[in-house]
Structure formats: structure tokens, C-alpha cells
Amino acid sequence: MSRRVLIAEDDAGIVASLEFIMGRCGFEVLVAGDGQAALDAYAAFRPDLVVLDLMLPRVSGLDVCRRIREVDGTTPKILMLTARGSQADRDRGFEAGADDYVVKPFATQDLMRRAREMLP
């Protein structure tokens, strides 16, 4: 059974690239363009992995992360994706419950390796 991944990202270009890579690796992919959509999609889709942009419109990535943890504990893996690379942002991401943290622009192979490690 293929793993399901939710991509929560507001930039069309990045979404397109992630969709392709994830699809190539056999994930079942769903896309959400903002925080609220991400929460709705999560509730309906219950993915194994959420690739979550930190700066999402409407509901921020951090809040989405916290809400998912509130609902389902540590079950889904969350990979935080952000253009901000400071240690403070990284810490805030981990505090909100992220399992891993990737800074844009990322190397696609690195991203996929982390995703696979999270989902054994």
C-alpha cells in the first residue's frame, strides 16, 4: 500500500516540483495551497507524511503542525519546509512538533532521503 503524502505549499512552482518527485517515488500525493486547506485535507486524507511550508496563508505552517499533533499525536510524520534558515525558526518548528526541517532551496535527493527515512 502506497504511502500518502500531503503537500501544503502556496508557491505553484514548488508544488509542481514536489508533486513530481513524490509521485515518482510512489507516494500518493495531495496538495493544499494554504493552512486551512491543509487542515481540511489532512482530516479527510489522513496522510502518513505532511510536507509543510512554514509560511502559509490563512493558517500558518506552525499552527497546522500543532493542530495535527493535537488530533493525532505523533502518528503522522511532518517535514517542515521553509525559506527561513535561522536557528530560531528551526527551533520553533521542532517545538511545534515537526519531525524534520528542510530549508529552501533544497536538494531534491536530500528531501526524498529524509522522507524515506521518516517512513520506514
Partner: protein, 920 residues
């Protein structure tokens, strides 16, 4: 030749008239309908200044000195200019402290010093005695002339001296009785003697009319007018010197100046002048009328002095006493009635002076010399007596008799030595010694009791040595050796040429030295020492009498038995009077007299009443026998306030500086906050820019890697990914350009090429340039432009940038196919306005301000994020702002948006244009 009985009868009839006037004046005062409460009476009473010395002596002086008699009357005229400032202040102080005399005034000013009051009294009495003797001499001499003419036509000492002296004695006695009758009817010396003032004013009229009458008689009966007299006098060689302006004793400019100064001071500091001008003043407003009325009186009084003097010199042979001209001229021509009238005039001048002077002096002697001593003699136990008010009156009466008799004896001993004028000047010089202590006292808080004592004593001693002593010597009392060769043969200390000061007449010389010593000691000792605390209080109360609205508040503590206060008061003002005063006091406060509280107010009231009777210094001592003085009295409080006010002023300055510091600190704090906010904004900007740069870079890298790692991609997909890479690269480039652009504008590094710009043409061009993207989306664009349009001031390329940005935004947010964009250009006062209106999705109010912020884009996040960097509007707003215009948006959701901006018209605001051009 007049019969003796007739002269005596007329004199007594005249005196009777004066008594009637005085009685009537007092009666009216008792009824509360004062007859002296008007400026005319006040001004006339001031004319007590013109004594027998003026009446007879002016002519005498003019006959020997020409116009040298004038300064004595010019001085008062000068002084009256200052009266509103100086005398009004003295009146106000006198009222507030119930001051009874000049001595009381000085004593009160310097901490109610009994010693100072005594010193002033001694100076006044010693100084004034010659003056009183002068009046006695004038009256008895004129009486003799009337009686024995023409035998005494020659200088009077050729007459029978025994009779002369007897006459003077009777005159003295009669004047003493007159003074007692007028001046000691009431006890409270601080209250006015209305009857006396009325009589004085009447006398002033009589003496003026009498003098004018003799002047007219001489000028128009004996001669053919004033011009005739002067012509004839001018033709007589021995009278030539009288025409020189500075002939005779007052023969130098210095002499004139000193005489002027002396008389200026005398009009205030002669005890009788202080009495009528200050003590007897009813209303301060009267000073204003007196300021011109009194000089007018002086002018009238001096009008015929020169004609009579010249007339006498022309008519009589050399050797006739010129002081007698006003009498002898009428008598020589058989005008006996006129001579009698002139005699009455002279009598008026003399009695007026003697009465007021002795009343003033006797008050001083009683309150400031005798009472302080008597109260200290335990043997008399005055403080224990029930009622000593009659004793007080008796003391004053005795003092009057003593003073007049003193004048008489001075006349006996020295009267023959000097002409009238010289005797008067001795007195003037004596009272001038009061000037530093009094004037300094009301204008300079720093003047101290020690300074006043030193100055007065020093000045008085110098006066005695340089003026009185030579006068005695000339009267044959010895001392001639001292005058000629100096004490112990020390020439340097000769009384008339002290320290070798030669070339001055005796009066000028004496004034110079005594003024120097007096002022020097007063200022020097005052400045050197420190005033005592209660002195400071009085100093402040005197100097600030106009600004201090507070009545002196009680400085007595605790409660005092009302009975004991009443007893003390009764002792000095009489028991019935004391009871009456307390009843009045109680009525004023609306309480029953038996409910009166012996509080500080009552004690202060009693003290003031006592001050009116026995002077401030003694009153204070008396009250202190029954009331305990507050250890921190008002005096201390005021002095503390004085010190505190300095501290307050200082701390106010500190407070001011503190506030300034606080303000500066606050400004710095605010500036720092702004800097920190800017710093945060900058950090945020950098962080945001980084974020915005990373986003397209992420796509570019991801697709590049995908293309690299997946060579097996089909062509269509490959093309799609490469297209995305290109698009994101363009976005990245645009972003970098705009960030740099914005940074340049914001840092002021941007280059501006400000010129006149044809906005109409520019809009046309911009619409043309964007027509392709409008067509691509199927949005219609319309430019609504006027036929011709005034040029604006702006940078052509930058304005174009704004227009292109607004147009491309409009396309972006307009619906495809149905979209419509209108560009309008309109003129407003002084500026042009461009509207770019679309019919797109619109912007809700909350977002309208946000869209001009950097990196803030508003679109429908669910669909697609709008293309663009989020910097366009921010840049546009800065461009328009820099060019002196404004950029804003009007919009409502689903109603489309209208972006508008203004630019200054070139013609209408050249100045603004230039300003912007300069900035650019």
C-alpha cells in the same frame, strides 16, 4: 505808626478765627464730614513749607543774591514729580503700620528699634530748633517794626533788645499754647488732626494773599510795574551783581545744585512736611492734584520776590535789613493797613510752621524718646498703672513747651548771628540726613538697623561739626580757634574746610561731607552685616508694601486674656476709649464683646492701636508684657519665606532643568525606539527578501535536478518543467531588480531627472505599452484624456514606471474577457490627478492600507497566488511621494478598484517644483 493794642487786637482776632476754623474742622471730622478730604486743602496744607523764612527771608536773600533764593522752591517742585512714587509708598506704609512720625517710620522699618527712633528724634529736635527760633525771631521782629517804625528801620539790633526779647518770649508762649490746643486734643497720634490741617490751609491762603498784596503794592503803586523796577535797578551799579544768575552765597553751580538737593529732600523729611504730606493725608489720589497745585503755589509765592527786593534796594539807603522790606516798604509810604495785613501774613507763615513742627516733634519726643525710657524705669511702674493716657498727653504738651522754649533760647543765644536764610539751611541740612535711611528703607531690603544707625549718627555728627559748630562760632560762643585753625591746631580738620576741601560755601561743604559719610556708612554697614530676622520682616513689609496684599498676620501665640489686653490698651489710650475700640473690633467681626477671643488677631489689633498712641517700638514692648510672642513669629516666617523664595527660585530652575533633561531623554528614547523599530524593519525586510528570493530559487533548483536526474522524461513534460524554470528565473530577476530599486529610493541614492512632464502623452504611451497584456487577457482599456493638459513636474521614467505598474495590476485583477480598465486624467487646484479604475475583484477596507506595504499581496489564496513581487505598489508610493504627490486606492470588494495619484502642476507650484528639483 500803628498802635500796639491795635496790632495785638488784630492778631488775637486772627488767632480766634484760626481757632474757629480748627474747631469747625474737628467738629466736621467728628461728624464724618471731613472738610480736609479734598486735594485743594491737601495742597494748601503742604504750603506750610513756606514759613516766615520764605515770607521775609526770600526778599532778603534776593536783595543780596539775586535769583539765588530760587533753588529752595525749585527743589520741592522737582520732588513733587516723584511724589506719586515715593510719598504714596510712604503713605501706604504709614497706614499699614499706624506710624505716628518720621522717627516712628525709621524705627519701624529697622525692626522697631527704639534706639533708632530716639536718634531720629534727637536729630530732628536739634536740627529744627534753629528753624523754630527763626519763626520766633521773624514774628517778634515784625511786631517791633510795626510798633516802632521808623526807629527800627535800621537793622533791628539797634532797637531795644529787652523789649525785643520780651516780645519773642510772649510769641513763643502763645505759639506753644496754640500748638497744644491744636495738636494734643486727641491721643492717637496716628489719626489725623483735621482741625489743625484746616487752619494751616487757611493760613496758607492768607500768607499768599498778603505777599501778593505787598508785591502788587510795590510794583504798581510805588513803581510803574515790574519792568520799571528792573530798568531802574539795572541802571544802579551797586545792583548789577544781582542780575547774574549765580551771584551771592549760592554763587556756583555746585551751590545751586546742593541747595536744590537740600530743598528736594526737605519737602519730604522736614518733620512738619512729613506730618502734613504723609500722616495727615486723607487720600493717596490727592497727591496727583498736589503735584501741580503745590508748585503753582510756590510760583505765586515767588512771583514778586525780585520786584520787592529791588524796590527796597532802590527806595532805602544801604544798611536797611532787606528781610524787613515787605513790611517797611508799605510803612514808609503810609500804607499802615497793608503793613498790618502783611504782618498777619507773616504771623500765619510762622504759626503754621511752629504748630505743625511742634506737634510732629512732640509726638516723636513722647513716643520715641520719653516713653521708651519711662517704660524701662521700674520705679515708675508705668506698665502697672491703670490709665496713663493723660500722662501721655501731658508728656506731649510738655514736649511742645520745651521745644518752643528751646527755640526761644536758641534765638536768644544765636538768633542775631545769622540772616534768616542761613538758619533755615542749617535745619534743611539736618533733616536731609534722614534721606538715606528712609529712601533706602523703602526701596532696599538690604538696609539694616546697624547701617541706618551708623549712617544717621555719622551724618549727624558731620553736620554738627561742619555746619552747627561754625554757626555757634559766628554767634560768639567761642570755638573760633577751632574754626580758624582746626582742633588742636590741625588745619586738615578745620570744620569749614575739612580735609582741605576749599572753595565751597559752608552749607555745600557740610552737605558734601555729611552725605558722603551718611550714605557711605548706611550702605557699607548694611552690606557688611546681616539684618536680624524681625528686621527682614519689616524690610519686606516696607519695600513690598504695594505687592504684599496680606495684612500682617498675628505673630503672637496662644490665647491671651482679653481683660489684660484691654487693660494694657486702656492704660495708654484711656479706659473708655479702650472699651470703645474693643466694642468696635467685636462689631466688625460680628461677635459679642464678651465673646471676644484673645487670639493673635486681637493682640495685633491692640498693638496697632497702641502704636498709634505710643509708637511702634513701645507698643510692641507693652503687648509683650501680656502676650507671649510666638517663637516662630510672622517675622521669622517672612524671613524664612524670603530665604525660601530663593530656594524655591533655585529649585524651580532645577526643576526646569530636570524637565528639560527628561524631555531630552524622552526624545532620545523615542529616537532610539524609532531606530530599533527601523532596525527590526530592516531585519524583517532582509529576512523577507531572502524568503522571497529562496522561493523561485527553490523551484528552479528542484526542476533543474528533476531534469538532470530524469533523462527519460518525455518531451512535453520536459518542456513544461523548463518553462517553469524560465518563468521562475524571470521572477527572480524582477525581484532582485525591484529590491535594488526600492533600496535605492529609500536610501536617497536614486537618480531623479525632474523636469516638466506632459502627463497626457505619458498616459497615452503607457496604455500603448501595456496593450498587449490587456489584449492577452481580453480586458478592454480606455484612456479618458482632456484635449490638452498643463505639464506637471516629475521624472518621466519614474512616472511611466508608476503608470505601467498600476496598469499591469489592473489587468491582473480584472476578470478575463469582461474586464474593463479606464485611465482618467484631471486637473485639480495646483496638481494633476491620474485615476486607473478597474472592474475587478476589489479590495476590502482592511487590506487597502496593507497593499502598499512591501511584500504584501492580496489575492485569492485558494486559487492562485497573484504573480508579482509584492514590491510594485510600495515602489510606486515612494516615487509619487518623492515627486510631491500622493498615491491611494478607493475600492470595495466586487466593485473594482481605482488607484489614483497626484503630481504638482508645473505652473501652479513652481516653488514646490523647485524644491523637489533641488531635493532631486
Amino acid at each position: 505808626m500803628l498802635q500796639g493794642w491795635l496790632i495785638v487786637a488784630v492778631s488775637f482776632a486772627y488767632i480766634g478765627l484760626l481757632f474757629f476754623i480748627a474747631w469747625y474742622g474737628d467738629r466736621r471730622a467728628g461728624q464724618g464730614r471731613s472738610i480736609i478730604a479734598n486735594p485743594w486743602i491737601y495742597s494748601l496744607s503742604l504750603a506750610v513749607y513756606a514759613t516766615a523764612w520764605t515770607f521775609y527771608g526770600s526778599v532778603g536773600r534776593a536783595a543780596s543774591d539775586g535769583v539765588g533764593f530760587l533753588p529752595i522752591y525749585l527743589g520741592p517742585t522737582l520732588m513733587l514729580v516723584l511724589w506719586w512714587f515715593v510719598v504714596r509708598k510712604m503713605i501706604r506704609i504709614t497706614r499699614a503700620h499706624r506710624i505716628t512720625s518720621l522717627a516712628d517710620f525709621v524705627a519701624s522699618r529697622y525692626g522697631r528699634s527704639a534706639m533708632l527712633g530716639g536718634l531720629v528724634t534727637v536729630i530732628a529736635v536739634v536740627g529744627i530748633l534753629p528753624y523754630i527760633s527763626l519763626q520766633l525771631k521773624a514774628v517778634s521782629q515784625s511786631f517791633q517794626i510795626l510798633l516802632q517804625y521808623p526807629e527800627v528801620m535800621l537793622p533791628p539790633r539797634s532797637g531795644d533788645p529787652v523789649i525785643m526779647q520780651d516780645t519773642a518770649f510772649y510769641v513763643a508762649m502763645f505759639m506753644a499754647i496754640f500748638s497744644i490746643a491744636f495738636g494734643t486734643r486727641q491721643l492717637d497720634a496716628a489719626e489725623r488732626h483735621e482741625g489743625m490741617v484746616a487752619a494751616i490751609a487757611f493760613e496758607s491762603i492768607v500768607k499768599l494773599v498778603a505777599f501778593l498784596a505787598v508785591g502788587i503794592f510795590v510794583s504798581y503803586v510805588l513803581f510803574d510795574g515790574v519792568g520799571d523796577i528792573f530798568e531802574r535797578a539795572a541802571s544802579r551799579p551797586e545792583l548789577q551783581e544781582l542780575f547774574a544768575p549765580f551771584g551771592g552765597a549760592a554763587g556756583t553751580y555746585a551751590g545751586w545744585l546742593w541747595l536744590l538737593g537740600l530743598s528736594t529732600l526737605a519737602i519730604v523729611f522736614l518733620p512738619r512736611q512729613f506730618q502734613v504730606a504723609v500722616i495727615e493725608n486723607v487720600d493717596e489720589q490727592h497727591l496727583k492734584r498736589a503735584a501741580w497745585l503745590f508748585p503753582l503755589y510756590m510760583l505765586a509765592m515767588n512771583l514778586f520776590v525780585l520786584p520787592v527786593a529791588f524796590g527796597g534796594r532802590l527806595v532805602f539807603p544801604e544798611g536797611v535789613d532787606a528781610d524787613t522790606f515787605v513790611l517797611t516798604l508799605p510803612m514808609a509810604h503810609g500804607a499802615d493797613v497793608l503793613a498790618l495785613f502783611v504782618f498777619i501774613g507773616g504771623l500765619s507763615a510762622a504759626t503754621g510752621m511752629v504748630i505743625v513742627e511742634t506737634v510732629a516733634l512732640s509726638t516723636m519726643v513722647c513716643n520715641d524718646l520719653v516713653m521708651p525710657v519711662l517704660l524701662r524705669i521700674r520705679f515708675l511702674a508705668l506698665t502697672q498703672q491703670r490709665d496713663v493716657s493723660n500722662l501721655l498727653l501731658d508728656i506731649r504738651r510738655a514736649a511742645i513747651i520745651a521745644i518752643v522754649m528751646g527755640g526761644y533760647f536758641y534765638y536768644l543765644l544765636a538768633g542775631e548771628a545769622y540772616a534768616l536764610v542761613s538758619i533755615g539751611l542749617i535745619s534743611f541740612a539736618a533733616v536731609a540726613q534722614f534721606a538715606p535711611a528712609v529712601i533706602g528703607g523703602i526701596y532696599w531690603k538690604g538696609g539694616t538697623r546697624a547701617g541706618a544707625l551708623a549712617g544717621l549718627l555719622g551724618g549727624f555728627l558731620v553736620w554738627g561739626y561742619t555746619l552747627l559748630l561754625p554757626a555757634f562760632a559766628r554767634s560768639g560762643w567761642g570755638w573760633v580757634d577751632v574754626i580758624m585753625y582746626g582742633p588742636f591746631g590741625l588745619e586738615l580738620l578745620r570744620p569749614t574746610e575739612l580735609f582741605g576741601l576749599k572753595g565751597l560755601d559752608v552749607t555745600t561743604h557740610s552737605m558734601l561731607w555729611s552725605a558722603l559719610v551718611n550714605v557711605g556708612l548706611y550702605v557699607g554697614v548694611s552690606a557688611w552685616g546681616r539684618p536680624l530676622q524681625h528686621e527682614q520682616a519689616q524690610a519686606a513689609a516696607f519695600v513690598d508694601v504695594f505687592s504684599r496684599t496680606l495684612a500682617p498676620s498675628p505673630r503672637w501665640s496662644g490665647t491671651v486674656s482679653v481683660t489684660s489686653l484691654q487693660a494694657v490698651l486702656g492704660r495708654f489710650v484711656g479706659v473708655p476709649r479702650a472699651a470703645q475700640l474693643l466694642r468696635d473690633y467685636a462689631r466688625d467681626r460680628g461677635v459679642a464683646v464678651d465673646k471676644l477671643q484673645g487670639d493673635g488677631d486681637l493682640v495685633r489689633f491692640v498693638e496697632l492701636q497702641l502704636a498709634g498712641a505710643i509708637g511702634g517700638a513701645s507698643a510692641r514692648a507693652m503687648v509683650a508684657t501680656v502676650a507671649k510672642e510666638d517663637p516662630i513669629g510672622i517675622a521669622d516666617v517672612i524671613s524664612i519665606l524670603d530665604e525660601t523664595s530663593q530656594v524655591i527660585a533655585y529649585s524651580q530652575r532645577l526643576e526646569e532643568q530636570r524637565r528639560e533633561l527628561e524631555a531630552t531623554t524622552r526624545e532620545l528614547q523615542e529616537a532610539n525606539d524609532r531606530l530599533q523599530a527601523l532596525d527590526r524593519l530592516k531585519d524583517e525586510f532582509v529576512s523577507t527578501v531572502t524568503h522571497e528570493l529562496r522561493t523561485p530559487l527553490t523551484s528552479i533548483r528542484a526542476f533543474s535536478e528533476i531534469l538532470h536526474d530524469n533523462p527519460d522524461l518525455d518531451v512535453a513534460e520536459r518542456q513544461r518543467f523548463l518553462g517553469l524554470v524560465v518563468r521562475e528565473s524571470e521572477r527572480l530577476t524582477r525581484l532582485i531588480n525591484q529590491v535594488l530599486d526600492l533600496a535605492k529610493i529609500e536610501s536617497g541614492m536614486a537618480e531623479w531627472n525632474t523636469t516638466r512632464v506632459d502627463l497626457r502623452e505619458l498616459v497615452f504611451e503607457a496604455v500603448g505599452a501595456t496593450s498587449a497584456i490587456f489584449a492577452a487577457k481580453g480586458v478592454r482599456v480606455r484612456a479618458d484624456l482632456p484635449e490638452d493638459f498643463d505639464p506637471v513636474i516629475g521624472d518621466r521614467d519614474r512616472v511611466m514606471q508608476v503608470l505601467l505598474n498600476l496598469l499591469s495590476n489592473a489587468v491582473k485583477f480584472s476578470p478575463a474577457q469582461t474586464g474593463e480598465v479606464v485611465v482618467r486624467l484631471a486637473a485639480e487646484p495646483g496638481r494633476a490627478r491620474v485615476d486607473v479604475a478597474d472592474n475587478g475583484i476589489g479590495i476590502d477596507l482592511a487590506h487597502q492600507a496593507v497593499i502598499f506595504e512591501k511584500f504584501r499581496q492580496v489575492g485569492d489564496p485558494l486559487t492562485q497566488k497573484p504573480a508579482g513581487t509584492g514590491l510594485g505598489l510600495a515602489i510606486c508610493q515612494r516615487i509619487v511621494g518623492h515627486l510631491g504627490g500622493r498615491l491611494w486606492v478607493e475600492s470595495a470588494p466586487e466593485r473594482g478598484s481605482t488607484f489614483s495619484f497626484t503630481l504638482p502642476l508645473a505652473g501652479a507650484s513652481d516653488r514646490a517644483a523647485l524644491r523637489w528639483a533641488r531635493v532631486a
